[in-house]
């Protein structure tokens, strides 16, 4: 069969614009970074690795899974130095098998993968409320949540329900928190595909921004570091500029482990007994281990889509576009890992958006703080859902994709309203498709 010249030109134009539908049997460079996760506990790399990188990747997985122990533990010099104040003892404890943290769908419990970060003027507690402490040290407090159900009806019938959280720090171990302190509840995101997102150039993000309507236009998360202007792209608010930055930050704040980029953990001046605690080395995480952790996250693949997902693509992708979800959750993100051009089906624009007051962080006394959120990548969604107890949005409040969509407001209000106006059948088709990504 010979295609008319106009058809060929149209296809080429679509490809050049990066707007070819995902899952198409036409050129699908995105598929290259997807791999089957035959064993969830042993995520594969997205590309063939040379021997040295493979060794670092394997070591990275060991370090990622390892529970760190108190400084001075016999025969454990490579993995000692946890805390004394910490949230959990291993990377895997929060990012279980490298995946997004699971939720606690029932009751008022918070999952192990939850952390309460702090913002604002308080200096006694540092960046995180460390809920665990080694014997002899006082933990910084406990976090409690109260859920309030909210419900409504779709225009075409059917009810929806979400649950709204209110957080508080209970039994603060180092004095009361200031009313102005910002509570920043966060659940652990997945690490899959981090290296690929790191390979998206700021120019590519800028180009996407240029295509977004003014009302939905994202903000690029620029940060100044060591005299350089770097694009933040990791973390719920894109406040980390690289995998190494994000890794060192988490080691220091949530595990109390120093590493070369962060030689101070989250002990504050007010916590002198924590600061005086014997270290597990200087730094506690060796350069070899830090390099291995970064290599693991740089090379780890994105879980492949279910084999039958392509059948859902036509309707689901069309609805995704019709509702405007695609304006921020970009279906084609150009990247150049190692200089190789790829198109990532990450479904993010790596930019910050205001999603309204409902999702915004609050101060201790309940005032809303305007919050900007990095568009969460949707790739690997099928893998996430298969893990059970899904927990979406920045604090895991949404127990389903439907709840997650319903929390979108602010710059995403029009997309949410378009979703609400779909028929029940269309909503299910769209959610099923997103759940297959």
């Amino acid at each position: 069969m010979t295609l008319p010249t106009s058809t060929v030109a149209a296809i080429l134009l679509l490809l050049a614009a990066g707007s070819i539908l995902p899952g198409s049997s036409l050129a699908d460079p995105a598929a290259a970074v997807r791999q089957p996760f035959a064993d969830r506990r042993n995520p594969p790399p997205w590309q063939a690795l040379d021997a040295a990188t493979e060794d670092a990747f394997d070591l990275g997985l060991l370090v990622f899974n390892t529970t760190w122990v108190p400084a001075g533990t016999a025969n454990a010099a490579r993995r000692d130095g946890i805390g004394p104040l910490h949230v959990l003892g291993s990377c895997d404890g929060c990012h279980n098998n490298g995946a997004r943290g699971r939720g606690e769908p029932q009751g008022n419990r918070l999952p192990n993968s939850f952390v309460m970060q702090l913002g604002g003027p308080d200096t006694a507690y540092g960046a995180v409320i460390n809920t665990q402490a080694l014997p002899g040290y006082a933990p910084e407090g406990r976090i409690e949540v109260q859920w309030t159900p909210r419900s409504g009806r779709y225009p075409h019938g059917g009810e929806w329900q979400v649950r709204e959280p209110r957080y508080r720090v209970v039994a603060p171990g180092y004095g009361p928190l200031s009313d102005d302190t910002v509570l920043r509840p966060r659940i652990a995101p997945a690490v899959f595909g981090a290296g690929l997102l790191q390979a998206v150039s700021p120019a590519a993000v800028q180009a996407i921004r240029g295509t977004q309507p003014r009302a939905q236009r994202g903000e690029m998360a620029w940060h100044e570091a060591e005299g350089l202007r770097l694009l933040g792209r990791f973390g719920w608010q894109a406040d980390a500029v690289s995998i190494e930055d994000q890794t060192a930050r988490a080691l220091a704040r949530e595990m109390g482990l120093t590493s070369r980029p962060r030689m101070q953990d989250d002990c504050t001046a007010a916590q002198w007994q924590c600061r005086d605690a014997p270290p597990g080395g200087t730094p506690e995480v060796s350069e070899e281990f830090l390099h291995a952790l970064v290599t693991l996250q740089t090379e780890v693949a994105v879980p492949e889509r279910p084999r039958d997902a392509a059948a859902e693509d036509v309707i689901g992708a069309r609805l995704f576009r019709r509702t405007g979800c695609h304006i921020c959750h970009r279906e084609a993100l150009p990247a150049e890992p190692g200089g190789t051009p790829l198109t990532l089906d990450a479904y993010t624009d790596l930019m910050l958006h205001d999603l309204g007051d409902g999702l915004a962080d609050r101060t201790v006394d309940g005032r809303i703080v305007r919050s900007l959120w990095r568009t969460a990548p949707l790739w690997g969604m099928a893998h996430t859902l298969a893990g059970g107890d899904a927990a979406f949005m920045h604090d895991g409040r949404a127990r389903s994709l439907e709840e997650a969509v319903l929390w979108h407001d602010g710059q995403a209000r029009s997309a949410r309203r378009a979703f609400e106006k779909l028929t029940s059948q269309e909503r299910q088709a769209l959610l099923k498709w997103v759940g297959s990504l």
């Binding site: 506990r41 042993n42 394997d58 997985l61 060991l62 370090v63 899974n65 390892t66 529970t67 122990v69 533990t73 016999a74 025969n75 454990a76 010099a77 490579r78 993995r79 000692d80 959990l88 003892g89 895997d92 404890g93 606690e104 029932q106 009751g107 419990r109 192990n112 809920t131 665990q132 002899g136 040290y137 006082a138 933990p139 406990r142 039994a171 002198w272 007994q273 600061r275 005086d276 059970g388």
Partner: protein, 180 residues
């Protein structure tokens, strides 16, 4: 930082004395933070344990039964030979481990509960059984971690403990139906 040993010792003692009831209270609340009802396991962890020395290999491993609390003596992990590799790879530095035999009369879901975050695997016919679910409560003294397995009846199962940071561990196995 400059050290002030006597002052620090005094304040540390004060903190410890003040901290004891606080930690105890957190322990009680921590156990209620499990996502399941763990009253049965908490009660077992308050019972008199049986002392056992975990095996360094399956041939030398003792057998355990359900609904009994055990205090296990573990061995340096470098000297432990498991029936199958641990299902999660971790650094073994300074870790302790051991091997036990387990057989249940009735097939079904069982909770393996332990008083620390050590790694657990149940090996059946040379392969690690997939965990059905797990939950942990770092503030609960006993149990602290629970893993749920679907266990076959009347099969020789090998329970492997690894990456323990101490040479002792308390452990129970309970059928789900006994736990409400």
């Amino acid at each position: 930082m400059r050290t002030r040993p006597l002052v620090r010792l005094g304040v540390a003692a004060l903190l410890l004395s003040l901290g004891a009831p606080v930690l105890a209270a957190q322990g009680a609340q921590g156990c209620s933070a499990f996502k399941w009802n763990v009253a049965h396991e908490v009660a077992l962890f308050s019972s008199e344990p049986r002392n056992l020395i975990a095996g360094a290999n399956p041939d030398a491993a003792p057998s355990i039964s359900a609904d009994q609390l055990y205090t296990l003596d573990l061995k340096p992990q470098e000297g432990v030979h498991y029936a199958a590799p641990a299902s999660k790879k971790m650094l073994p530095d300074g870790a302790f481990g051991g091997v036990l035999h387990l057989k249940v009369a009735k097939a079904g879901q069982y909770r393996v509960s332990i008083d620390s975050g050590f790694w657990l695997d149940v090996i059946h016919q040379g392969k690690a059984l997939p965990a059905v679910d797990f939950n942990g409560s770092p503030t609960c003294a006993g149990p602290r971690k629970i893993v749920v397995y679907d266990l076959p009846a009347d099969s020789d199962l090998v329970l492997q403990i690894g990456n323990a940071s101490t040479a002792k561990a308390k452990l129970t196995v309970t059928p789900i139906d006994a736990a409400h």
